[in-house]
Amino acid sequence: MLSTSVIFVKETELVVINQFGRPVRNISEAGLAFKLPDPIQTRISIDRRLNLLALAPSEFVTRDKRNLVLNAFMIWRISDPVKFLASVRNQTTAEQRLETLAYSQIGAGIGALPMGDIFTLEDDRSALAVLFEDIGVQTNDLTLSELGIEVKSIRPEKFGFPRQNLLAIYKRMESERNRIARQYQAEGNEEASKIRAETELEVRKLQAEAYRDGQMTVSTAEAEAAKIFAEAFETNEDFFQFTRSLDAYEKIFSEDSQLILSSDLPIFDQLLDPSASQ
């Protein structure tokens, strides 16, 4: 009988000491503990470990009547054994209560937001994370006060759209990609033709400048040549007039020219009258 006064408390458990059926003491430190022997005081062990409750996938509706599908999980543990025993008593019942509570909280949370608020990239944190933190806090408040259970977190594991919407989503993504591809093509073509047009302009410019510069060079040279002639001309105008005229005659008259000359010309003196002297 006395041996029931000595109890070992494991790290994984909380022990409630009941005296004549009424809870009088909680032991939360593991190790050796003492109590009054049975049946004056009896012990009840409560698992204090963290539990994982995986919720089945379910469909929820947003504020703007769009459907979302998600499955979530809860991490919970018993924090107040007396309240726990008074409310649900065992793990199975606890899980049922938690599940119901979770679904209603998640439903409420999602139902309060329009789809656009959930799929937004505004801040660094995803809108989902913020939403589920709130859901977790609210659920925890409820479970602590009603069930003596601490809910550490409720989080989604998968989150998306009803299966029947998937095809439409794939199509949307695909046409978006096609649009982007076409845009790249268009940009490429536009840039390429811009480059070609510019090139054309530059080529023409180069050609025109070369022509202009060339012409200038030639005309400068022509002027120079004329100057050389003029300078030479000035030294003896008379002589140069004479030779220049003779040059002109030589160029003007060719095989096809017909000259009608007077016999008075001095060159013909010897021809017609050899004795005449000049």
Binding site: L52, R125, A181, I195, I228, A232
Partner: protein
Amino acid sequence: MTLSDDIKLIARRCVTPLKWLAFGLLPSIYLLSGFYSLEGEQAGVLKQFGRIVNNSVEPGMHYHLPWPIQSVDKLSVAEIRSMEMDFSEEVDRLLQPESTTGTGDLVDVALSVQYNISDAGRYLSQAQSAENMLRHIVASETLFYLGGNDIDQLLTTGRNRLQTAVRSSVQSRLAELELGVRVTSIQLQRLDPPPSIKRAFDAVDSARSERQKLIQDAEGERNAKLAQARGAARVVMAQAEAEASEYVQLALGDTSKLLASLEQFEKTPKLTRSAIYYETLERIFSKAKLQIVSPTEE
């Protein structure tokens, strides 16, 4: 001597050795049960009456007080364990296989998690199944990260960032929960668009490279044409310069010839004049057709 007498004699003789056994050997065995050893990669959790008194007993040979006073749990802690998670493997009536990004697009994700035990005591006593919890936490933190980015970021620069960001946020959750597990790394095995529309995504990549190619080709053409044009321009200039030089050279040549004649002329003007005159006429008259007529006195 009767049989019963013999038995009594043997029994009396056996008592002493049996006493030795009972009061000497058995307690010794009991006391010796407290010896234990830990391998290099192991850590021990020493409990006294169920309470953890040392959650990281070093490797080696140790002694603990025998049960039920003390007990030891051995765990392999240095070993890095690995967990594969393929998010698209879900087969469910309701759930889509892919993961959802921040803008409502879908991506196909698979990753692996490397972790080890950081606090052996906590690992054993904090949760019913720490590994299972880890799995769910990784799934949820990955989901949150994907939900905070758009698909283009994720498919291009997002891979490394996802790995570090998810590792860090999972680690924070684990620390909050005091699970005694540490995630050493997260590795993305797969982050792709849904298989059925992968082709459209590849087409974008090829369109992007084609754009580059179109531009580069045009640039190449441009360089060639400009080089050609510059070459042609040089030719034009060279020709002009040649022509120009010719003009000047001819002028110089002709004037020097004439200056030479001038010198001659200035020495004997009349003679030179006639000579040049007649030479020129020679050339003209021998080519052209001549008619010589006598002028009539009118």
